[in-house]
Symmetry: C2
Subunit: 134 residues, 2 copies
DNA sequence: CCCCTTAATGAAAGTCGTTGTCATTTCCAT
DNA sequence: ATGGAAATGACAACGACTTTCATTAAGGGG
């Protein structure tokens, strides 16, 4: 999994991968670091930062910015382009797709002569679980 | 303009407002501070930060996050809800609207039981001017 | 297996945008 | 005018993230 990216298989990377594989919600590097510590696997915070950055570049993790600017990561099911509906309270996320919206974005950019266009789109709200827990 | 927001009319706020009124592109607090200094109006950096934050909360300035996380501000023509097509090089922006996309976002959120939903959407590219200047 | 090269780790220090502090200044309602 | 509250700004502090660099440990070649 990690060796196919030309990376060495270290126990730290294994620990991070195992964690993001079972945590479904978006989590920051610091939160992941804390979760690792809680389960006895002590991985340096620097290494967690480096690992999630590497995995994100490789497309293995999705990254989004929370409202406060902190980057949060998550292992997504689909490797295809998609966006997220994210819970502000717990980080729970639903992958969403909007082909029509994608085309609209392309269109708008082209109409104004912009090139090398990318877009960011995230939906934030409170998930049913957190709503119920009020 | 500023008094209608329950704020005192200081020369610093006047200077910042005059600046954002004539700069059409998205600019960071630090960039605005530098521009003020360049034109002889010396306003403290702290005050620039406070002023843009206040104006943004009041809806007088639009804020978006650049890819590096830095907040950039701009005076927009429309007070209505809209998004932006922004040049990565110079900050030039076009206001864009996508009513169909807005409805789609509402729909997706409702379908998944999420409440208090908001969304962020920005289009980034290279504007025609910067493309030409290559 | 055992080296040996080199990638990877991690503690500590540094970066940088942004915010808090607090003494001083300035606005403005009375 | 003048008193009191709001605003300013130099400076320190904050926090997420990165860099540094000495140390550790993969893992391929012998
Ligand atoms: Mn998209
Ligand atoms: Mn919208
Ligand atoms: Zn939730
Ligand atoms: Zn441009």
């Amino acid at each position: 999994m990690v060796t196919s990216l030309g990376l060495r298989a270290t126990k730290q990377r294994a620990a991070v991968l195992a964690l993001v594989d079972e945590v479904a919600d978006f989590r920051s590097a610091q939160e992941l670091h804390e979760l690792l510590r809680a389960r006895g696997e002590s991985v340096g915070l620097t290494t967690v930062y480096r690992t999630v950055a590497t995995l994100a570049e490789a497309g293995e993790l999705d990254v989004i910015r929370r409202a406060d600017g902190e980057s949060v990561y998550r292992r997504c099911g689909s490797g295809a382009h998609h966006h997220h509906l994210v819970c502000r309270d717990c980080g729970a996320a639903v992958e969403v797709e909007g082909p029509a919206m994608e085309r609209w974005a392309e269109r708008v950019a082209a109409d104004h002569g912009y090139s090398q266009v990318a877009h960011t789109l995230e939906l934030f709200g409170v998930c049913p679980v957190c709503s119920a827990a009020k």
